[in-house]
Symmetry: none
Subunit: 139 residues, 2 copies
DNA sequence: TTGCGTGCAAAGGTTTTGCATGGCA
DNA sequence: TGCCATGCAAAACCTTTGCACGCAA
């Protein structure tokens, strides 16, 4: 009677491979599905969704919802201590910025004390526009 | 040959009434549609979507995408575009909390100045655990 | 009358779910 | 042998779009 155990399967491995190879961008499920099919190792979308959910829970993958139209986006972040800092996501160039800033950690304290809410940095993403894109826009 | 003129219709008025009455919360299209139907003044969803789009363009209504599940959320903000606030979302009970706190607005300034990143509060959601769920867990 | 607004239904897309089968340990 | 994982298809949703009709000005 095992519990909470995970099996290793071909599908799981292929998916993770793809995510790691594309860790610098974000992808969505239809894209992943199309790619894996083209590679000759198709994986059902249901499986992809189910597995991504688990990876998100485990903190290995980040889920983004930029807007309602394109659907959710996913990006591999690995387990290099990303749970301890916040992330900025540029909605223009999709760049992911990691910031480890003590000042920002103060907002954790503030919100916990004044709003009774404990923020989970590993699930929280700030959306906005990075300096590069802002510069490019002001031309 | 008029152009860019807007007609006043019963549907338009009802929708705006509802939005203003609920300016303190979020709503989505299915909710609005259900409410208007229950009131005996049903409005087609296509109409609601089309009108909301215009209101968003005019800056009277803000559109949020909290997550992929619930679809887009809308909120009336009127002419005073200063009603920007952040959102906290409890990952346990899915409750959505609005906080309008000047201290939190400092985050914007801090990140802009120290990290060269301009946050868009309408797209940013803090995920974590609300006080109710935290209490329920510590039992 | 003009042309914007509306309703209906169909279509499009993403994501979830039920169920039987397959496969790791 | 257990139990988890998968695939398939159906279903559930949200949202958009085409088209004919209604209605404000």
């Amino acid at each position: 009677m095992k519990r909470d155990s995970e099996y290793n399967t071909r599908q799981k491995e292929k998916l993770l491979d793809y995510l790691i190879e594309n860790k610098d961008k974000h992808t969505n499920v239809p894209t992943i599905s199309a790619y894996l099919s083209a590679e000759g190792t198709p994986v059902g979308v249901a499986t992809i969704y189910r597995r991504l959910d688990k990876l998100v829970d485990q903190g290995l993958v980040r889920k983004y919802v930029i807007d309602g139209k394109t659907g959710a986006c996913y990006q591999y972040i690995g387990d290099n201590g990303c749970s301890e800092h916040f992330h900025l996501k540029c909605v223009r160039c999709d760049k992911l910025i990691h910031i480890n800033c003590s000042h920002l950690m103060e907002i954790n304290d503030h919100i916990r004390e004044h709003h009774g809410f404990v923020i989970d940095p590993s699930k929280t993403v700030f959306y906005g526009i990075c300096s590069d894109c802002a510069e490019a826009e002001n031309k």
